[in-house]
Symmetry: C2
Subunit: 353 residues, 2 copies
């Protein structure tokens, strides 16, 4: 396929993507950390294959729906890093999945562990205890991890270890501190399990911003997701330089009215994510000083910081603030290779449950 | 279909939806304003049919992709309220569309008008001149509308009239002022066309927040979109009361860790929209004091303002901040009727181009 689709559409720079995948794999090998990339970022069987082909031990997902899609495409080791509420239907889906793949799920309470055990034991679904290392959304306190793990073991489930997501690494100058919090929380949780007589096979952490600061003395497995593409958030946090950014939204300049530059890449293409530290609703890859200063569903108004306006009808490459959100809006990614474009389906798009 | 899907999923209260559709139609009839609802909100042939069946003169869309989907489902009068950049491919698509429907497109510059004429005249695509009434994203100045319209007419296109979107109505206490700006801008633009010897068949405006203040002495056609569902933005702006809100995201409480209430309705289900005036990332329909205080892709942390935590595993109804964004994340809407659930496809989901 060499005919470009109509704008706005997502483009992947395959050289950069491959380089990002390779570098993460090399970092993990050097530090003797198992790499289990988070597939919620790309939802793409092709990118999953690239990751697994360069040494990833398996994949992380956020939902059963993502796990099912990736299992159908041959991924045989999946960790649902989420404290799933296991009802009869989820239990049926997990049993089906476990016939095709090694499957683990998150658990963050004694009640959740007991319930998962009631519905799933003695099937081969393992559990990993989620602890809160500072983001304060899910995860038990690190010193409670032993009790949760014991409840799971008593309910007949195999406990694989402990995990956290140091999401508070998404803050200016917060990256190293979040990695330190992560190591402390995971170390405490691991010790709690050991004290309760449980083996801890995996101590899992990792986010793209904190990745460079990961404490490989504690963490045995890392689950970064965004690193494959990068985005304006990583650029602004200093976690990834612009020359590593592999995902852009190709947009058309549709209006110069009022002396503005307005693009057709609105929030339905880029996502509406705007962190407190973000300088706008997205960046332009080839205009580092430019900022998207107003965003609606089909309009992005750009402040070009004094640069001349690109002509109406010309195309520019926008870097979304949050690549996971942009990808989940698209049914396909357009991959540049040998001067042409191929379409990779976003096979797990919208699989929220 | 009576089996509810896995959370998070979008539910439509059909009674409320029908009431919202009927009330808007009644308001339009009383004020002798033509109603041309914006279908970008629902992207649903079923809801389009409800609107057209209760007196809407046609539909508004934002993209050619939306127009194509709705035309395939029988809608024969479509206005693309957007200053489309018309290239050869867009011209081909417009010609195909014009075989099945009356089609109009927006134009906001002399150059755009001339170009559209070169590629489209003398086919039956009409143009409507977009003017800026205060949102400052697209649209020429009202006093420039005559020149744009003349350029279109000289290029062989039929000019239908003028339009604006008073998007600055999305501000606390901004609704009446935006409607006044809209009437002033449209009146100026209409007069400019008349002075240049052009007929003005349609003077089109309208947004859901400004709708109650619309000046029917100037505006002949209104294009509200959100009114069919409402959302937390309309609730907080005072434009729609909570008992009229017809779209919710059914979510499961997945964690009480740290004494929090965390739901599985993250930004990939609700959208990440958060206007400056918003009090959070979404509301709970049955807990008016509650706020979503932290949102990530699969987690919504709720502050219940002192109410007791709903049990883990229980379900709650979340009102998204912006219904258009939430709908565009889902492949289907689950419609409550006679105690059961039916699925309506979001047929134009993701049709950004």
């Amino acid at each position: 396929m060499t005919v470009a689709p109509t704008t706005p559409y997502l483009r992947v720079d395959l050289d950069r993507l491959r380089r990002n995948v390779r570098r993460a794999a090399e970092w993990a090998a050097t530090h003797r950390v198992a790499l289990r990339p988070h597939a919620k970022t790309h939802k793409s069987p092709e990118i999953a294959r690239l990751q697994l082909g360069s040494g990833a031990v398996g994949l992380t997902v956020a939902t059963l729906g993502e796990a099912e899609v990736l299992a159908r495409h041959g991924c045989d080791d999946l960790f649902v890093a989420y404290p799933l509420w296991v009802d009869e239907r989820a239990a049926d889906r997990l049993r089906d999945l476990a016939e095709r793949a090694t499957v683990a799920i998150g658990v963050d309470s004694v009640e959740g562990a007991a319930r998962a055990g009631r519905l799933l034991a003695p099937f081969a679904v393992e559990v990993v205890v989620e602890v809160d290392s500072g983001q304060h959304r899910t995860g038990c306190r690190p010193d409670e991890a032993g009790a949760v793990a014991v409840a799971a073991a008593r309910a007949g489930l195999r406990v694989r270890g402990v995990f956290t997501f140091p999401g508070h690494s998404y803050a200016p100058d917060g990256r190293a501190a979040a990695a330190a919090d992560e190591a402390r929380a995971l170390g405490t949780a691991r010790d709690a399990l050991v004290r309760d007589g449980l083996e801890v096979a995996v101590v899992s952490g990792g986010s793209t911003p904190s990745w460079a600061h990961l404490d490989a003395g504690v963490v045995t497995e890392a689950r970064p997701g965004v690193y494959v593409f990068g985005d304006a958030q990583q650029w602004e946090l200093g976690a990834m330089p612009p020359e590593s950014l592999a995902l852009t939204c190709r947009a058309t300049v549709v209006s110069h009215a009022g002396g503005r530059t307005t693009l057709d890449s609105g929030s339905k293409a880029l996502g509406a994510d705007r962190a407190a530290y973000a300088t706008g609703w997205g960046r332009l890859l080839d205009h580092p000083e430019a900022r998207i200063v107003q965003l609606s569903e089909h309009h992005a108004v750009v402040d070009l910081a004094g640069e001349p306006l690109p002509p109406v009808g010309s195309q520019v490459d926008v870097v979304p603030n949050h690549c996971c959100a942009a990808v989940n809006l698209a049914d396909g990614l357009w991959v540049e290779e040998y001067g042409g474009l191929r379409r990779w389906p976003v096979a797990a798009r919208g699989r929220n449950g």
